[in-house]
Amino acid sequence: MKRFAALFNAIDQSTKTTVKVAALADYFGAAPDTDRMWTIALFSGRRPKRAVTTTKLREWAAEQAGIPLWLFEESYPIVGDLAETIALVLPPVETTSDRSLSDWILFVRSLGDVEEDARKAAILDAWAQLGGTERFVFNKLITGGFRMGVSQKLMTRALAKSTGKPEAELAHRLMGNWHPDDTTWEALIEAEDASADASRPYPFYLAYALEDGPEALGAPDDWRAEWKWDGIRGQLILRDGQHFVWSRGEELMTDRFPELARAVDFLPPGTVLDGELLVWHPRTESPASFNALQRRIGRKTVPKKLLTEAPVVLHAYDLLEWQGEDLRDTPFAERRALLEEACADLPPEAPVRLSPQLDFDDWEDLGEIRSVARDENAEGLMLKRADSPYLVGRKKGDWWKWKLDPLTIDAVMIYAQAGHGRRANLFTDFTFAVWNGNDLVPFTKAYSGLTDSEFREITKWVRKNTLQRFGPVRQVTPHHVFEIAFEGIQASPRHKSGVALRFPRMSRWRQDKPLQEANTLEDLNDMLRIYG
């Protein structure tokens, strides 16, 4: 694990992408195959299952450190990371070893099969022989939360650098349902034919946000416009008589949306569609709001009742594979024409709909269409260049999302909590309230949108203005007003305020605004009536 720990340090000690990529590429060039495979797996979210509860780990670590459990628990939020807290309190190493990364992963996976006493003994033994970064990395492996500032994109770039293969090809190879147990470096990375796996999706092409208007994009004729749906991006794969549904986060969602199984009855094998999963109102032939889809998210199996109440269809807007042929280099307008052809004769019971293109003469015209997006349950527009290929990842230039401006409300900060990791010791998670008469009613939490220096400033203020502490949460003097931006609002009996917001974040710190001028519960209820 020393080599992997050294890689971790090299990555952790730099903020520069080039340095991280170089360190990873060197590692891929030098490490044995099984370690390389596990490294790719770890950085693409394929980590070993958590074998021990964190409650046990905390107990054992405190016991080994010779400190009471409460002292461990007090230290944890200050360090901001469980694996690190454990690594720091444990006594120094007694012996050292250098088992490989894959060896340790095997060890971690074996822990699930043994009795608790044996599990404890094994972990204490591992702690006793792993020092410094190795101990931290090991703890990350057993706690299952493996994130270390390397995105899959960055790792793919490093692999490209190390193997000389194109980045887009590698991104495709790394997609899908593989696991280090079932494949080899040779098969996954090197082999000539990497398309053997029928379930393998294409890497998604992601749009950038259009900050200013579309005027700078050039001639409107070169562009196609669609609604930007507020659903789940998904890829529907029909190959060999089977179907697979992938999320943008590379999660296989086939079982969650059983209604899509019927697609094989209506579309030929060798078809891959890119689109949006939406709950569909069969009677009105229109998509429901995101709130309806929310009932389906996170459900691994779907009860019958829910299937009839909230049926899902794929709104297809791109065709990536047709008759078994990869179309990604074909211009968008041609892919679109083929897509329209493929969807032309679909009956209403097919779980696929063609996502319409919007006709517009000029940008002003399009701006007006955008302004009514909320009526369509869309969150804005997508603009796609007619002659663009289907690229890999987020690339500027050919696809833009032109979203509606968010809804906003001015609210008072009443509770603060420290963040984790990089944000440990900084108060970054806040609860906000609106006025109801003379009372402040909490209605949302938000933890993003401020700059680091704003977080530092508010942290100092929180420390000096704490009224009461509830564990890690501090009640603070009502004083600061923030503008909260959000994408949607819905009624929620579980919340004291009766509403729940979608994607709330702090859009502005209203230091100019006195406390009394924050918005009221009545204002929130008005928004609920209009947009809920």
Partner: protein, 338 residues
């Protein structure tokens, strides 16, 4: 003053000794102030009379300007009213002291800031037997344990050598009084020239003036030509890193030297290239071993993780309490210079 009243009490001006009518490190102007060391939160402006060790005074005069001050040697007893006072090395920075106060056989020690490991520059820490011990707890959590400084020195020099080999200037951020000079003695001058920011160099000049030996340094003034100093390490206060002044040096890496660098979150937030864990405060084990060595039964915890540390002490048989303080210069909220 009743016979039962304690020798030292905690007031809103700071630690007060009624028997000698003086304060220790007061934060509001007083008639007579005994000062443990020259850091800004301990040695403040505005007192009528200052008393500090001979070794601490030059820096205090440099920072506070015209003051009426008296110097005292380490270990020399001084009678002030009914109190017997003496200053003992605290090992925190050159000249820093713990102040021992004895009134009617009752011994108190106000330790100011202290560290246990001898750094080769500050007078080495000497634990004092006492009944009542006032301690800091800047790093009073079991997650803070320091490596021997020689190991940290190796890490820093290895980093500097790599920067030099890559044609980069190594910027090392550290508190200008104490930490900067300690780092100077740890740097390997064979690697390249050592440049100093004005805030560091001014303090160097004061300490050299009182006889401390520091390696040769070059003042990195606004007029300096960075090209003339290839492979240099620049020692600067953390606030100067990334400034227009620092950018003049072209390709560079930045590092911070502080106890807070123990925490990965802080290290990443500072967005420097490296963080070296080296502190002028006692770590968890240092605090506990010191408290044991004093033999004191009553412990007063003044700054840092006071609630947690006092609770731990109480559970382990001490009579420990938290006393309010306005020292905050080296907590995590402030510049992580400790």
């Amino acid at each position: 003053m009743g016979a039962m009243s304690p020798a030292l009490t905690f007031t809103d001006r700071g630690i007060y000794c009624a028997a000698g009518d003086f304060y220790i490190d007061p934060w509001r102007p007083v008639e007579r102030a005994l000062i443990t060391h020259g850091h800004a939160d301990h040695a403040r402006h505005g007192h009528q009379h200052y008393l500090a060790t001979h070794a601490a005074l030059p820096v205090m005069r440099h920072r506070l300007g015209e003051i009426t001050a008296e110097g005292i040697g380490f270990g020399a007893p001084l009678q002030i009213g009914d109190a017997t006072v003496s200053f003992h090395p605290a090992g925190h920075v050159p000249g820093s002291a713990q102040i021992r106060v004895e009134v009617g056989g009752e011994v108190w020690v106000a330790s100011g800031d202290y560290k246990v490991e001898a750094d080769g520059l500050s007078e080495a820490f000497e634990p004092q037997r006492c009944h009542h011990f006032i301690t800091e707890s800047t790093f009073g959590l079991p997650v803070f344990r320091w490596q021997p400084q020689a190991r940290v020195a190796d890490e820093i020099n290895a980093w500097w050598a790599r920067c030099a080999a890559a044609g980069k200037t190594a910027f090392l951020g550290a508190y200008a009084l104490g930490k900067a000079q300690r780092l100077l003695t740890l740097l390997d001058p064979e690697i390249g020239p050592i440049l100093t920011h004005a805030a560091v160099e001014n303090t160097n000049a004061v300490l050299r003036g009182q006889g401390l030996t520091l390696p040769d340094t070059i003042a990195a003034t606004a007029e300096i030509d960075p090209k003339a100093h290839k492979g240099a390490l620049v020692l600067a206060p953390p606030s100067a890193l990334g400034s227009a002044w620092a950018k003049k040096f072209g390709a560079q890496e930045t590092a911070f030297a502080s106890g807070w660098m123990q925490l990965r979150g802080v290290r990443r937030r500072r967005a420097g290239d490296r963080g070296f864990v080296i502190s002028d405060h006692a770590d968890w084990n240092g605090l506990l071993s010191t408290i044991k060595e004093t033999g004191a039964e009553h412990i007063y915890v003044t700054h840092g993780y006071t609630d947690i540390f006092a609770r731990y002490l109480t559970e382990n048989g001490w009579s420990a309490e938290v006393v309010p303080t306005e020292f905050e210069g080296e907590t995590l909220d402030a510049e992580p210079a400790a």
